[in-house]
């Protein structure tokens, strides 16, 4: 009796959580897959098996939207990596005490627990036509007219995304840097490696899994992103997420579902290629 209970106990314990995921993650995504083959007559959807929705999204507009999304993804990824790595490196190797490392890391983290919407709105007084940046540049005579591209542009979208999501790059890199055995660095130095060689031969390869995990987060966050594109892009900027959201707004569920399935496939492809390059299993 108690043996059976012992074998069954873990299953009983994981049941509530697994039920939540089945109800609100697995089943919904399966339903998206099903509905993406349904018919849509302009008002309502009916069960069917048609490829019309997929054919409907094979257009130049969709392709352009994807290319634009990739552009946002590429720029945001590059910026989060180039800014995030030095920040994580500084925290891991140049801050002497563990308490200080945790405290400074916390300082970096706090904004990410607050509202994304507010964090984006707060760029308006800085970047707007009469914003601080334009005011400052004009008062020192660098520009005569306010710069238009600062807000409601692709630039603003990327800036907003970097601001919102960079912690997802910093945290995994910081984590993998903290795990590097300090004696390895001492050993490399003793063998005559220069500061740059230590970084290139020891630190960078050992932190690669952190970069991979961070990149996966950035990919999944950006690929379906529509809030930043909507708030910071000001109408002209397009992204797959925004496209889907617009289609849902006009109740074209089957079309949105087909789009979402393509989006899911593309996202998974990118993640799989990241995993092929770097094995992250030992990090988990």
């Amino acid at each position: 009796m108690s043996e059976t209970w012992k074998a069954l106990k873990p299953y009983a314990l994981i049941t509530p959580q697994t039920l939540v995921f089945l109800m609100f993650l697995v089943f919904p995504i399966l339903m998206i897959g099903v509905v993406s083959f349904w018919e849509f007559n302009g008002y309502s959807m009916t069960p069917a098996f048609t490829f019309d929705n997929y054919r409907g999204i094979l257009t130049d507009v969709t392709l352009k939207t994807y290319l634009n999304t990739f552009k946002f993804l590429g720029l945001t990824w590059l910026a989060t990596l180039l800014i995030g790595y030095p920040v994580a490196y500084f925290l891991a190797f140049h801050v002497p005490k563990l308490e200080w490392q945790i405290l400074l890391f916390l300082v970096c983290t706090i904004p990410f627990w607050t509202s994304n919407i507010i964090r984006m709105i707060s760029w308006v007084p800085l970047l707007g036509r009469e914003g601080l940046v334009n005011q400052g540049l004009m008062s020192i005579g660098l520009i005569q007219e306010p710069l238009q591209f600062l807000l409601f542009s692709d630039f603003a979208v990327v800036l907003g995304m970097v601001h919102l999501y960079i912690i997802f790059m910093i945290a995994p890199i910081f984590n993998s840097l903290m795990r590097i055995e300090r004696s390895l660095i001492t050993a490399a130095e003793d063998l005559g490696a220069s500061g740059f060689q230590v970084f290139k031969e020891v630190i960078l390869p050992l932190s690669a899994p952190g970069i991979a995990i961070g990149s996966i987060f950035i990919v999944t966050l950006i690929m379906g992103e529509f809030v930043t594109v909507r708030l910071m892009g000001g109408g002209q900027s397009a992204s797959v997420g925004k496209l889907i959201q617009t289609q849902i707004g006009s109740l074209q569920y089957p079309l949105a579902a087909a789009n979402a399935m393509v989006l899911l496939a593309v996202t998974m492809l990118i993640i799989i290629s990241i995993l092929r390059v770097l094995d992250i299993r030992k990090e988990l």
Partner: protein, 271 residues
């Protein structure tokens, strides 16, 4: 040694600029929300007062914040309760090896990394097909759980990894039942962590936007209400609301951190 200190100062400067980049925009809206009654959306500040912060609590032309705030509060508490209960149970289950644990683990990871819009769309489609009306406390609740539960679960896994099982074994050897062991041994030991996880979960839910956006139904949660305001509010009341809700989330995080530290230290002192 000299060379090393140069790179230290360069990186320190870079880090400070980064912190400024993180906090700078927020500070500007804090300042602008403290303007006088005829303040605008940009600098320079016109006057200094608490007028706009007070305005948040008045009846607004563009909507009312009290009701969405109460909804977000209730939803946050419900999400927190469910998340804590489910993630503690699941992470306890993971302390023992069992068949299928890898699948469950990757299911959790999937919940974290599937693009949010798919979760929102999926739940929306299910409710549409079933003919159920979407609502913040049904479909919205589910959408929030797909976000908070994996995060809480991963944190709980980490906590139990560092948990010393000999206390439980001792209790069991003395004849305590499973539930007695849990409530009298495990629970007091993980309580400070649960407090932290709970507050984190609450703020995640309180500020969640993307996953809720398509499934909140007729009544908005606070982030959705604020998103709606961005297009038609042209007074610093928007900034004032942003200031208040940010201060609210940030203080919960700080309380979580310091309470966790204090309790953990007291426990270490006892042990």
């Amino acid at each position: 040694m000299q060379k090393r200190s140069l790179s230290f100062y360069l990186l320190l400067a870079f880090f400070c600029l980064f912190v400024l980049f993180l906090y700078g925009p927020m500070i500007t809206i804090f300042m602008l929300s403290l303007q006088g009654p005829d303040g605008g959306l940009t600098f320079p500040m016109r006057g200094l007062s608490l007028y706009w912060l007070g305005q948040v609590f008045q009846e607004q032309r563009v909507g009312n914040f009290i009701e969405p705030f109460v909804r977000s509060l209730l939803l946050g508490v419900a999400v927190m309760a469910i998340t804590i209960a489910a993630s503690v149970l699941a992470s306890m289950g993971f302390r023992q090896r069992f068949k299928g644990s890898t699948v469950i683990f990757y299911l959790t990871i999937a919940s974290l990394i599937v693009p949010s819009i798919l979760v929102s769309l999926g739940i929306g489609v299910v409710f549409q097909v079933m003919g159920w009306p979407t609502n913040w406390f049904t479909s919205g609740l589910g959408a929030h759980l797909t976000w908070t539960l994996p995060i809480a679960f991963l944190i709980m896994l980490g906590i139990f990894n560092r948990f010393n099982p000999s206390y439980e074994e001792a209790a069991r050897d003395l004849g305590a039942t499973d539930s007695k062991t849990f409530w009298e041994i495990v629970m007091p030991l993980i309580a400070p962590s649960l407090l932290g996880v709970g507050l984190l979960t609450f703020t995640l839910s309180y500020d969640e936007f993307t996953r809720t956006s398509l499934v909140s139904g007729q009544s908005n949660t606070l982030p959705l209400e604020i998103f709606g305001m961005t297009t038609n509010v042209t007074s610093p009341a928007l900034y004032a609301l942003g200031t208040l809700t940010t201060v609210f989330s940030a203080s919960l995080i700080l309380i979580a951190f310091f309470a966790y530290n204090a309790i953990a230290q007291r426990q270490r002192g006892k042990a």
